[in-house]
Subunit: 275 residues, 2 copies
């Protein structure tokens, strides 16, 4: 029997939306209140697949999630891009003038702060999960409090939309990845994207040499991010995503990178969700 899929947050959260879109509208989920909890469910075999946000068009990479995947040697087996539409919601009968506080995840508050410049009487308060606030408002009949969450959360918990699409940058996209303990069941015929990690010394041209190899092997770079290795001065770790047409081109690049870069590691091979 298929195990449930772990998500950060509760039903109605953006992670839940990704599960419904990527897997199945009726997929069962395990609700976790932290990304550590999500990973633990995988390590303890309570789940076989989990969904994690990995980067956002406004806030950039979520480095702690990269670290979780890397440190526990997990595998990215798929990706999904979700356009984030933040909605403002409160108990039925409440208007925006009745709202004294808006509670939501810090990222959601950040993404919507311009909207609230017109409502200086509203205080923004950080909460653990977007959908959980909607649930609390509904269950505890909380007046004067609004949530920023997905439209689905409003429907699921039976509260009322006060405003839709209130994020400052209208096209606000988050990239989620599907993560397993390992990628042993991969289907090479569908794979055209990979996430790689390697380390380089701070030597002039060392990264250029690696990128030349990727280019020579017909790989396209879709993301690059350096992180200094704080414990080792002048050493850098790079997280790179590449896309390719032919798996054998990618295999060739991997065999060269294994020789050229230190601690080369494949974080995942999967199907590009952008095509």
């Amino acid at each position: 029997m298929k195990k449930p899929i772990a998500i950060q947050g509760i039903k109605g959260s953006f992670h839940h939306l990704v599960v419904q879109n990527y897997f199945n509208i009726d997929s069962e989920v395990v609700e976790c209140m932290s990304f550590d909890g999500v990973v633990n469910s995988l390590l303890e075999n309570k789940t076989d697949e989990v969904v994690m946000a990995l980067e956002n068009s406004i806030a950039g990479s979520i480095i702690p999630n990269y670290a979780l995947i890397d440190n526990y040697n997990l595998s990215i087996v798929g990706e999904y891009y979700l356009g984030i539409e933040h909605c403002l919601m409160a108990l039925n009968g409440q208007t925006i003038e009745d709202i004294e506080e808006v509670h939501s995840h810090p990222m959601a508050l950040l993404q919507c702060k311009v909207f609230f410049k017109n409502y200086p009487h509203i205080k923004l308060v950080e909460a653990k999960d977007t959908a959980d606030v909607a649930k609390q408002i509904s269950e505890k009949n909380m007046k004067g409090i609004a949530a920023i969450a997905s439209k689905n959360a409003a429907e699921l918990y039976g509260i009322n939309l006060l405003a839709e699409s209130i994020q400052t940058i209208k096209h606000n996209e988050t990239r989620f990845v599907i993560v397993k303990r390992d990628n042993s069941q991969k289907d090479i015929s569908t794979i055209n994207k990979a996430s790689l990690k390697f380390e380089l010394d701070h030597k002039r041209g060392s990264l250029a040499a690696i990128l030349n190899v990727l280019s020579d092997c017909k790989l396209n770079l879709t993301k690059i991010q350096s992180l200094p290795k704080i414990e080792t001065p002048w050493k850098y770790a790079f997280f790179v995503d590449v896309t390719f047409e032919a798996y054998k081109d990618y295999e060739k690049a991997v065999s060269i990178l294994n020789l050229m870069a230190e601690n080369f590691k494949i974080l995942g091979e999967y199907k590009n969700a952008r095509r």
Copy 2:
């Protein structure tokens, strides 16, 4: 007369520590409760220099701060690396067993969460500023609440250290930058680092070509970060930091990059703080 320097947070915060180390122990500061507030003080000529955290060894780049510098065409004129030592502090007479809640900035909570696994009775609560919690505890005589903040904050607000250096990763470094409205008074003889931004099409080898130019001009890469331009599919923006020995080598690279890359922009030229 020299204007005060704007910081995010209040006296005793890590931003304040940077001002004391980079400028002068007695430098006057303007306490702002957001990075937008910091930038506004500069735009409104209330300050001539501000300090902003830009990246952290654990959480990575603070992309919204890059966006503030970029969007308002500000200039980075200096940098400072601060080793972050988080301390736990509470009213005199309180022990860790008395503490029910720890309030701090989300980043500080994230960096110390392993420490609190041994204290499951303590609830972690997000707050706006590390030092501000220490101040509130002192002023309002709050029992049962502890702050995570710098040792300086404990001294400044007269509360007691319960534990020192409680961050999970002991070497936890944050890079701060000094930002001005423009860099018109630069002294070329001291400049050996620059922060650059440019855009490239998603074409195989386009980034490798740029990095080859940097390498040919004897520039070292100390940071690279790609960000997809969400409004323009297949277009990427790159934030790059380079160091160099000779300013003329850098000038040569700049003149080539101006021709090769789209929307090439210098975000700052300054003295490398790593030497």
